[in-house]
Amino acid sequence: MMWHPRRRPRSRGSVWLGAIALGLGILAGCAAAPPAVPDPPPPPSGSTPGLEPRWVYAIDLLQHGDDARADQYLEEASRLDLNALSHEAGNPFGDALFWRDVAEVRLALGNDDGAREAVSRSRRLLASEDRNARFDDADRQLFNRLLDALDAAARGDTDALTMLAQASPPAADPSYLAGWVAEQQHDRAAAQAGYRQYLAEVPAWGFLRRSSAMRAHAAGYLATS
C-alpha cells in the first residue's frame, strides 16, 4: 500500500544539511558558468549537392555578421536548381524568400542593380505561390511590401520608402531602408528619423533577414551621429 500512516520523521541534521549544501553548490556552479558562443558551422563542400545547404550556410554567415561571404554562397546557390528547394525546411516561402534574401544582401553590399533584379525574380515567384491556409493574403501583402521597400531602396527613392513605412499594418523595415538611403545620401536628419522610427517598431514589426545587423547599425548610427 502506498499511503503510510502519519509518522514523525527522523532527523539526521548534519547529513541533510550536507546534502542541501552540496545541491545548492551545484546550482550555484551552474549559475556561475561562463558564457560561450557556438562556433560557426563548417561550409558546405564544393561537392555538396543542392541550393539549400548553401542558402542555410549563407544564413549562418549572416548570423555571424559576414555579409560578404554570405553573398558569395547566395550567388553560388542562385546558379543552382531552385526546384530542389524544400518548403518544409524552415523556408515556407521557398524560392521567393531565397531571392528576397539575395536582394537584401546585394543591397547591403551596394549592388543596387543586382538587388533590383533579385526583387523582380522574387516578385515573380511570389505571384506563382498559391494562397493556402498558412500563407494568406495578409502574408502576401506584407511580403510584397518588403519587396517594394527593397526595390525603392535600390532606386534610392526615399519618398516611396516613407509611404511604405506609413502603411498599415506596420512594417518597420521600410523605415530602416529610408534611413539607410538617407545615410548614403548624407542626409543626417532623415537618416536619424528613419532609424528612430525603425528602432521604435522592432522587434514586433521587423521581418527582413538582416534584422539583427540592421538594428545594430541603426543604434550605432544614432549613438554616433
Binding site: P9, A19, G23, L24, A31, P38, A133, S212
Partner: protein, 451 residues
C-alpha cells in the same frame, strides 16, 4: 477483491489493451510532430554524436529538445537495436504503471472506488493508447508527473524527508523530459510549504522544502551546466521564444477578428455536440482540409506567425531569444488583448478541436472534471490534497495559456481530470453495488483508511 489486487488487474488490463492497440496500429512516427527528431537524437546518442538534431557532421549540439526522452530511446536502441517497437512496448508498460499511479492519486483524493475508475478511465482511454504506440514523450512525461504527484501527496500527508526529496527528483526528471514541468516547481514548493506535514521542530519545514529544491536542482543541474558550457546560457530549452511567437502576435489583431475566434472557441468547447448542430464542413473556406476556420483558430495562425518572423530571427545571435523578444514586444504593446485572448488559448488547451469518438471522451472528461471540481468547491468538500492537485494543474494551465497551447499538452495532466471526473461515476457505481458486502469491504475503504 482488495484494492491492491484491483490495481494489479488494472495494470494487466491497461497493458493488454495497449499491446492490442499497438498490434492493430503499426504507425510509430507521427508526421508533423517531434517523432523523427527523437529518433534522430537517439541514433546520434548511440553513435557517440551527443545530443544533436543534425544528421551530418559536425553534429552540432542542441538544446531545442530536452535530453530525457532521447536518452531513454537511445538506451533501448542500444539494447535492442534501432527498433521503435521496443520503445512502444516499454511505453505500454509505463502506461500501465501510470494508470496505477492515477488510481493511487484518485484514491488519495476521493477514495478507492473513484481512484480505480480514474485509473481505468485514464489507462483505457483511446487517447492514451495512441500516445503509447507513438514515438513521443507523452507516456514517460505523464508517468513522471503522476508519480511525482503521488509522492508529493504522500509527503504532504506524512512529512517524510525521503518523500520531499523524491518529489523534487521526480519533478526534475519530468523537467528533463519536457521543460514545461519546471513551471510546476514554484507552485509545488509553495503549496507543500503551506499545506504539508513537517513533524515537530522549528527547522523541519525549511529542511524538507530545501530537500525538494535540492532534489530538483541536482537532477536538472547537469543539463543546465552542459547548456551553459555549450551555448553560453543555463537554459532548460530553446523553445520558449518559439512558442511565444506563435501566440503573442495575435494580440495585435483588430477587433473585427474576434467574432470568428469566439465562434471557433464555442464550437470547439462543445465539440462533438456542436458537430451535430453545425457541422465543421460549414466552416470550410478552401479545397484543402486545413482551409477551415477551426484549423485557422487552432493551428494555421500559429504557423503563420512563426513563418513570418523566422527569417529575421534565424540570423539573430540567439534565435529563441529573438522570438521571445518579438513575443514580449506584443505582450507589452497589447497587454489587454493578450490577456483577453487567453480565453481562446484556454479553449485550445482544454478541448479537442476535431469531431471524433476520442473528442467525445476527452471533452466529456474535461467538462465533467471542471463541473465536479466546482461542485465540490461550492460544497466546501475540498481539502489539502485537492488544493495541491488543483494548484499544480492550474499552474500548468496558466503557464501553457501564457506561452503556447495545443490540446496535446493537456494529455499528461489527464490523470487529475479523470480523478475529478470519476467522482460522480463512483457515486453512481457505489450506490449500485453497495448491497454486495464483499465488494463493499474491498472497495469502499480508501487505501489510507479514511473515506
Amino acid at each position: 477483491m482488495t484494492f491492491n489486487r484491483l490495481l494489479v488487474v488494472l495494470f494487466v488490463v491497461v497493458v493488454a489493451n495497449g499491446f492490442l492497440f499497438m498490434r492493430l496500429n503499426p504507425d510509430r512516427m507521427v508526421p508533423g510532430t517531434d517523432s523523427h527528431e527523437y529518433d534522430l537524437m537517439a541514433r546520434n546518442l548511440i553513435a557517440g554524436h551527443g545530443l544533436s538534431l543534425a544528421s551530418q557532421v559536425p553534429y552540432q549540439p542542441t538544446l531545442y529538445r530536452e535530453p530525457g526522452y532521447p536518452a531513454l530511446v537511445g538506451a533501448l536502441y542500444r539494447a535492442f537495436g534501432p527498433n521503435v517497437d521496443a520503445v512502444v512496448v516499454l511505453q505500454v508498460l509505463l502506461l500501465g504503471v501510470a494508470a496505477v499511479a492515477t488510481a493511487l492519486v484518485g484514491a488519495r483524493l476521493f477514495g478507492a472506488l473513484a481512484g480505480l475508475i480514474a485509473g481505468a478511465w485514464f489507462g483505457l482511454n483511446p487517447e492514451s493508447a495512441h500516445y503509447a504506440h507513438w514515438l513521443l514523450t507523452e507516456i514517460p512525461f505523464a508517468l513522471l508527473l503522476v508519480l511525482t504527484m503521488a509522492i508529493a501527496l504522500r509527503a504532504q500527508r506524512n512529512g517524510s524527508v525521503r518523500d520531499y526529496l523524491l518529489t523534487g527528483v521526480g519533478l526534475g526528471l519530468a523537467t528533463l523530459v519536457r521543460a514545461v514541468a519546471s513551471g510546476l516547481f514554484p507552485p509545488l514548493l509553495i503549496l507543500l510549504g503551506v499545506t504539508g506535514a513537517f513533524g515537530v521542530g522549528r527547522w523541519m519545514r525549511w529542511q524538507r522544502l530545501a530537500l525538494l529544491v535540492v532534489g530538483f536542482g541536482v537532477v536538472v543541474a547537469p543539463w543546465l551546466v552542459r547548456n551553459a558550457e555549450t551555448f553560453g546560457r543555463a537554459s532548460l530549452t530553446s523553445r520558449v521564444g518559439v512558442n511565444l511567437v506563435r501566440r503573442a502576435p495575435r494580440a495585435a489583431q483588430p477587433l473585427s477578428a474576434y467574432p470568428a475566434d469566439v465562434v471557433a472557441s464555442v464550437w470547439i468547447a462543445t465539440n462533438p455536440l456542436s458537430q451535430l448542430v453545425y457541422p465543421i464542413s460549414r466552416f470550410q473556406w478552401g479545397p484543402d482540409y486545413e482551409d477551415n476556420l477551426i484549423w485557422d483558430f487552432h493551428v494555421n495562425e500559429m504557423v503563420r506567425y512563426l513563418w513570418r518572423y523566422q527569417p529575421a530571427c534565424q540570423t539573430a545571435p540567439d534565435e529563441d531569444q529573438c522570438f521571445a523578444d518579438v513575443g514580449m514586444a506584443f505582450v507589452r504593446q497589447y497587454p489587454l488583448q493578450y490577456l483577453a485572448q487567453s480565453a481562446f488559448e484556454l479553449v485550445k488547451l482544454l478541448f479537442t478541436p476535431l469531431p471524433s469518438a476520442q473528442a467525445l471522451i476527452h471533452n466529456t472528461t474535461v467538462w465533467l472534471a471542471i463541473v465536479t471540481g466546482a461542485v465540490l468547491a461550492w460544497r466546501r468538500q475540498l481539502g489539502a490534497p485537492h488544493v495541491l492537485v488543483i494548484g499544480v494543474v492550474f499552474a500548468f494551465i496558466v503557464e501553457s495559456v501564457a506561452l503556447d497551447t495545443q490540446v496535446r499538452y493537456l494529455w499528461p495532466f489527464l490523470p487529475y481530470f479523470t480523478a475529478f471526473a470519476a467522482v460522480p461515476i463512483a457515486a453512481v457505481v457505489g450506490r449500485l453495488v453497495s448491497r454486495a458486502p464483499a465488494v463493499r469491504k474491498g472497495l469502499f475503504q480508501s487505501p489510507s483508511g479514511s473515506s
